[in-house]
Amino acid sequence: MTTTKIFRAAIFLLFTLIGVAGLYFWMQIEFVAAVQIIVYVGGIVVLIIFSIFLTQQSGLEMPKATLQRKIFSCIAAICGAGLTGLLISQYGFTNNPDAVLDDSVQNIGTQMLDYEDVGFALPFEVISILLLAAMIGAIVIAMKSKVEES
């Protein structure tokens, strides 16, 4: 049902992410689609592939999941998907086609650095501090054992 080769799983993830970016292009949200391609396809998938090369042989097969775990996970996923699909199909969303989403890059940039009513300046600053902390934390965690060995 699922592949047992981890490198193949990473390539499938790559194409899934490109497909999601294509969905954004179809919805005409070009900026988010570009960010999706740059960050996910160009960043995270490459990071995952590098970590696969660092941690195990790429041709090595992963052990298959036990049948009991497969069955119960399948039941959980199908029940959840069925319930959510039922709720979505019965809710009856009403489209709002007359208003047009202004998703130009200029508008996005202006609102992101705006501290007035519709601005997102505070989350922007918090995210930048979080990224800095994550970068320092990743370097410190990955370096730690080498320092202990030497």
């Binding site: 981890i6 988010v32 959980a76 489209n95 994550a134 934390g137 054992s145």
Partner: protein, 104 residues
């Protein structure tokens, strides 16, 4: 050809979310579990963008949530892979069944 409405996009993101949940429950390799988490985050992003585009097009809140979620996912992936590489150096295995000394 029928019009594609928000309901179809929500069905797609539901399918993506529960494929991610299935992967998270069955896999025992840390890197593949991380891939499943990425799938779940992507389905949430699709939901935010679709709601913003089809239901509330007069402001851009969903787009900003999506951009911030993408940034947090990048930070999370970097930290998670650093932890995974550190675990691999100490245990020579990234299977969650082999790394359970912090369990009790």
């Amino acid at each position: 050809m029928n019009e594609i409405s928000i309901t179809h996009i929500l069905f797609l993101s539901t399918a993506l979310f529960f494929i991610g949940v299935y992967g998270l429950l069955t896999r025992r390799n840390m890197i593949t579990m991380l891939m499943a988490v990425e799938l779940i985050l992507n389905s949430v992003n699709i939901n935010f963008v679709a709601f913003n585009k089809y239901l509330y097009p007069d402001n851009l809140d969903g787009l900003f949530f999506t951009i911030f979620i993408i940034a947090i996912a990048a930070a999370e992936a970097a930290v998670a892979i650093a932890i995974i590489i550190h675990i691999y150096r100490n245990h020579h295995s990234i299977d969650v069944e082999d790394n359970e000394e912090m369990k009790y």
